[in-house]
Subunit: 341 residues, 2 copies
């Protein structure tokens, strides 16, 4: 039986082995991914991002647990417990793999549940390499029948934008006290948010954070904010409020206290509503397409580079580099020379 | 007179125009950069990074002001005031350019000093595009005679690692209260730090943050930490403590209160010591080389992609994409087909 077939039959060990192959980009891993690709496209990909200190990991754990309940915590009686994959991407740890520490804490919490599969990924090489590997890992979990795949990244930079490209639904996590700083609330980060979460909502300053988020949202999407929303930790009713003519998604703001599970059900409901919105508006397919296109472009860049590397001698490359090191050739000039040889 | 010549003669307007050309990657900008390249390699490139809420911008302002004093604030009588360039890179704002807000605050503080040049950059396209443009902007400032170029990025992700590649000296900024979380202190981020700064050192919890940083440093570099260091806001004496046989840099921890200017002189001294260390150990040249090499590889990737795009028809590309969208072809298979046609 091939590795891909074992994965399709639900073999966890085979899945773990495949993910390692994907991370190392082995020919075996690539072949298995191609074999699995027809079975992908089913999972709801949820991106979770936000600055350090917002309690992301704890929130992701609670969310995963919520999706696993016999009667789903989003209050929908018809929902069935989902199999949940969690991919924790840590682009800030290219050297020593900082993901390990957080992972150990996480494992203690969800370990032993056969319906949950957790994978930590630390960047070993370039950002491009990490993005490619993450796309592959997510596809493998999708094909293996995990209906929900949560992709969590650390940081507040470009990686968030890449998540937005990978995920169907992107959660941006904030916390009180971090939001006072001009730097803390970035229009760019908010623009990728489908759902905003203020975690640690029992801390002081939660109203200020919510006000700040709301005014940034209004700044970014004035047309979306004709309706004022009002919620609290206890009843954060999440009005998507799509306009009748052109369906439009208003990113709701959810307040949560992750360690106590407060607001998690409401958050799950907001996520379910967003999935519904994606399907009815046709945006689900659009996001699938732009995700696959981005993946193809990444792979193209890699393959073109490899092919070029195979066509140029190491001596020639080094000779041109040396000229740049001596400042007698600019980087642009160097590349022009290298590419025409 | 060419644009490059005007820049070399200290024309600020010409410099501003050139930076815009570089950001847009116009042929004129690329030509000017090549003309300027022989004049680069003089500036001390200082990367500044850290999570939102640590007060990075305020710290960078104070540092720039310190470098501008008639007698340098590092206490070295022989130092002369430097011309300072500041490049604020904001990879989190690909959409609406969130850098503008912070920039306005910053300008108020340093405006009118002809020895300071400030440039904000928000990612307009890919991360690769931003990295390329930043490298070019830094080179232009270097050639224009700015002896210190401070490169500040927002975020706590891959962008920090890219800074480490671009800068000679990388400062990682922390603040009390953010450091309690497991996520906040990332071994990977610390590993790129040449100097660690705990800003907002008048806030509660500074001892805990310092302890946490120190133990993370010991975890990462046990051999470096045979000597215990001790400092306070008032006298943060910064012992580099290189071992005699193999010169080694121990990242010092500086405590600062940026708005009051506390600890800024000590920080400037730590930066000067690191520059000295780079020169005596030969690492300065090594970092120059790996930076130029990284830039060349980025440019190569871009040029190869452009050349390939010129060689394939849009119809052919779209046909293959459509097969992937229908899940009848995997992304890897698609790329293999595209690249051989």
């Amino acid at each position: 039986m091939s590795l891909a077939e074992s994965v399709l039959q639900g073999n966890r060990l085979a899945l773990a082995r495949l993910l390692t192959q994907i991370e190392s980009e082995t020919p075996e891993g690539i072949a298995a991914l191609s074999e699995l690709f027809p079975y992908t496209g089913q999972a709801h990909l949820i991106g979770v991002t936000g600055a350090p200190g917002t309690g992301k990991s704890s929130l992701v754990n609670q969310l995963a647990r919520c999706f696993r309940q016999p009667v789903a915590c989003d209050g929908n009686e018809a929902s069935e417990p989902c199999r949940v994959g969690v991919v924790a991407v840590d682009p800030s740890s290219p050297f020593s793999g900082g993901a390990i520490l957080g992972d150990r804490v996480r494992m203690r919490d969800l370990a032993g549940d056969p319906g949950v599969f957790i994978r930590s990924m630390a960047s070993r090489g370039s950002l491009g390499g990490l993005a490619r590997a993450t796309a592959g890992v997510v596809q493998a979990l999708d094909a293996a029948g995990y209906q929900v795949v949560i992709i969590e990244t650390v940081g507040a930079g470009q990686s968030e934008v890449d998540i937005a490209r990978l995920a169907h639904t992107t959660l941006v996590i904030e916390a009180p006290g971090l939001g006072d700083d001009i730097q803390a609330i970035k229009a760019g980060i908010l623009e990728i948010a489908d759902v905003l979460v203020i975690n640690k909502a029992d801390h002081a300053g939660v109203e200020a954070t919510e006000r700040a988020l709301r005014s940034m949202l209004q700044l970014g999407h004035p047309s979306r904010y004709e309706v004022q929303h009002h919620r609290s930790v206890e009843s954060s009713a999440l009005a998507a409020a799509p306009v009748q003519d052109s369906p439009m998604w208003v990113p709701p703001i959810c307040l949560t206290v992750a360690p106590e599970g407060k607001g998690i059900g409401e958050l799950a409901r907001a996520i379910a509503e967003h999935r519904q919105f994606l399907h009815t508006s046709g945006e689900w397919q659009q996001r699938e397409h732009s995700r696959l296109r981005a993946e193809i472009d990444l792979l193209l860049g890699q393959m073109l580079m490899r092919r070029w590397q195979g066509s140029v001698s190491q001596d020639r490359y080094q000779a041109v580099l040396d000229e740049v090191f001596r400042h007698s050739l600019s980087p642009w000039q160097a590349v022009s020379q290298l590419i025409t040889c």
